[in-house]
């Protein structure tokens, strides 16, 4: 295990070390002090443990690597990630997993507003609650919420799936509750097992997705545009 300490190294030093490291390396990052843009653009299978909370865009555009934050994360956690796994033990701020194409994000605490905005294939699991406008314009992937969802959930959603165990304050435009089929129960099980989450009751989840009524412009829908 390699220790990278913010008390001794700059952000550039730490990111460069991570980006240029050998495959299967294991790093522990100490004293992050809420630093922004930490562990971004990693392009290989390595393991990174961050001891403490981080700022904006931690693990941004991640590919292949497993990143665990033992603390909380600021806005844009794992934005546009392509693959790999991100695990935050605390809470996360706005836009977690924004436009993520693949991989998995597990948040043990709560996620703020716009969680999973424009997501394009990533799986996001939030053990707590999510804020308003989560899964806004979500295109593909899955947002799994163990707690409650704020207002306008799934507004203008495309082909992503949302699973909610708690209460939904309100649904956004073109987002509707859909039948939880066997296939979707199975999908949910895979998503959670991939993230090593086993303490759940599948019967408590409801599924939400697109009514697909806004896919092509129709003047009769003008009031909801």
């Amino acid at each position: 295990m390699h220790i990278l300490d913010f008390n001794k190294l700059s952000l550039r030093d730490i990111n460069k070390t991570l980006q240029e490291s050998d495959k299967n390396s294991f790093f522990s990052i100490r004293n992050p002090k809420g630093s922004h843009a930490l562990a971004v653009g990693i392009n290989k299978k390595i393991t990174v443990k961050v001891v403490g909370s981080v700022g904006y865009y931690c693990a941004g555009m991640n590919k292949f690597s497993d990143i665990k934050v033992e603390g909380s994360a600021g806005p844009g956690l794992g934005e546009n990630m392509m693959s790999g796994n991100i695990h935050v033990t605390g809470d996360v701020s706005q836009y977690a997993g924004a436009s993520g194409h693949g991989g998995s994000i597990l948040v043990e605490g709560n996620a703020s507003s716009r969680c999973g905005i424009s997501m394009k294939g990533v799986d996001i699991i939030v053990k707590g609650n999510v804020g308003h406008m989560s899964a806004f314009m979500a295109q593909k992937g899955n947002l799994v919420i163990f707690g409650d969802a704020g207002h306008a959930l799934g507004d203008s959603i495309y082909e992503a799936n949302i699973y909610v165990a708690g209460e939904v304050a309100s649904l956004g435009a073109d987002c509707i509750e859909k039948k939880m089929t066997k296939k979707h129960l199975s999908d949910l099980g895979h998503i959670l097992s991939n993230a090593n989450v086993s303490d759940y009751n599948p019967d408590t989840f409801r599924r939400f997705g697109s009514a697909r009524s806004l896919y092509n412009f129709n003047v009769d829908n003008a009031k909801i545009y």
């Binding site: 922004h36 653009g41 700022g55 590919k63 844009g76 424009s118 896919y215």
Partner: protein, 438 residues
């Protein structure tokens, strides 16, 4: 029978023929007009400025003999590998999806022949355009369609698109007709649906956030490539100042004549300000920050010829960018397709339904048969010719003003034909020392 007095039929300026037809169209269809291109209004523009050639008080350089530099470096503020361009004219961002693969390839070929850059668009980077563009700027757009870190690292520069001159405050629009399998796959959306890109980035909101976003992009790319920030021409003084303060290497300001693939007509014609009015406030913002020439300024929106290039540079820009003009060079709205345009209910020179995917010139289409009409090699050659002509025209003017570098042109070399253009450009009305507003 009493004879009626005879007067000429009088049409209304308020309800002119176009306005009336638009009212009838709205009543019939129930949808606003969507079209491509930029503003078609008669706006104050660079034609309203004239150069004051040298005579006794200034002396000129010899045409075709004395050198006049056209090279420009973009993005050397923070990046280790700035763009080194042979000419100060770049190709603006236009997406694969809005344009055919052939058109994107032609743009890359043409730009590369003359040593300038081309730019991706909404939907990501295609192999064709990376392969044929020696210097490629990769756009980071609010939709993040096709955005991935591998392409980001292949780019020679990154352009964060905050706004576009044709639609400040608005998002992109690519209607279902043009969403074929390849376009749909690149954008991770179902085939055939309307793709209305967001107007805001999904993971930041204001200038303080943008500064951190720029930091992230630099950390991902190792501080190697320049970061551009593109803003629409609406409040250029403030937007350019904030972009520079946020850490941009280059700021692009796109006036309302700048084109779009598809947007509401009411948006194109009523939101934003003319390119002419953008330049001086943008330059002033950089000057007041001590960053003029350190943060390069690119101006776009309705640039057509070498005179426009020279005027933009004289007002303080470092380079210009062209989109619509480049498409015309490739063959857009060419009279040889007049019969085809007539079948679409329009004419060569007026065609702007780029969103419908039926472009007879094979440029703004995903129809395979139509796209084949455009030969990318020939198109690239035509674009290169056009870029060379623009550059030579600008050099001709610069030499006549006694300048051995296009960027040595200055506002003092200009005067204005109208009070409005004098005020916007901050140069004297012709024959006077009067600059309105100063």
């Amino acid at each position: 029978m009493k004879k009626k007095s005879i007067t000429e039929p009088r049409t209304s300026h308020t309800f002119d023929a176009y306005t009336n037809s638009e009212i009838r169209r709205a009543a019939e269809t129930g949808i606003y007009d969507i079209r491509g291109g930029g503003s078609k209004r008669n706006l104050p523009n660079f034609d309203d400025l004239l150069f004051l050639g040298a005579s006794i008080s200034r002396y000129p350089l010899e045409g075709y003999r004395e050198a006049c530099n056209t090279k420009v470096i973009l993005g050397d503020r923070f990046s280790s590998n700035p763009l080194n361009l042979e000419i100060p004219i770049t190709i603006a961002g236009m997406s694969f999806g809005a344009l055919s693969a052939q058109a994107k390839e032609a743009l890359g070929r043409g730009a590369s022949l003359v040593g300038t850059s081309t730019t991706t668009g909404d939907g990501g980077m295609t192999k064709e355009e990376r392969g044929h563009s020696k210097q490629l700027v990769y756009q980071l757009l609010p939709s993040r369609y096709g955005m991935n870190p591998d392409d980001l690292r292949k780019a020679d520069a990154i352009e964060i698109v905050v706004g576009q001159g044709a639609k400040p405050g608005g998002g992109g629009m690519l209607l279902g007709q043009k969403i074929n399998d390849r376009v749909a796959e690149m954008r991770t959306l179902p085939k055939g649906i309307d793709q209305r890109s967001p107007c805001r980035h999904p993971d930041w909101t204001g200038p303080d956030d943008m500064e951190i976003k720029i930091l992230e992009l630099r950390e991902i790319t190792g501080w190697k490539v320049p970061i551009f920030v593109k803003v629409a021409g609406s409040r250029p003084y403030y937007d350019v100042a904030l972009a520079a303060k946020s850490g941009a290497d280059v700021v692009v300001v796109d006036g309302m004549q700048g084109g779009t693939a598809a947007t509401q007509e009411v948006f194109i014609e009523n939101v934003g300000i003319p390119t002419l009015a953008c330049v001086r406030p943008a330059v002033r913002a950089l000057q007041e920050l001590g960053l003029h020439r350190k943060v390069q300024l690119i101006v776009s929106g309705g640039i057509r010829n070498g005179a426009d290039v020279a005027k933009a540079l004289a007002l303080g820009a470092d380079a210009v960018s062209i989109g619509s003009a480049a498409l015309i060079a490739l063959g857009d709205n060419d009279p040889r397709y007049q019969k085809d345009y007539e079948k679409l209910g329009t004419t060569a020179g007026s065609f702007d339904d780029w969103h419908e995917g039926l472009d007879p010139a094979g440029i703004t289409t995903q129809d395979k048969k139509l796209a084949k009409r455009l030969d990318p090699k020939l198109g690239g050659r035509r674009l290169a010719n056009y870029l060379n002509v623009m550059t030579m025209e600008a050099q001709t003017i610069a030499r006549a003003c006694g300048k051995n570098d296009l960027r040595n042109l200055e506002p003092e070399d200009l005067c204005a034909l109208t009070v409005e253009s004098a005020a916007m450009a901050g140069v004297p009305l012709a024959g006077t020392n009067w600059i309105p507003g100063t």
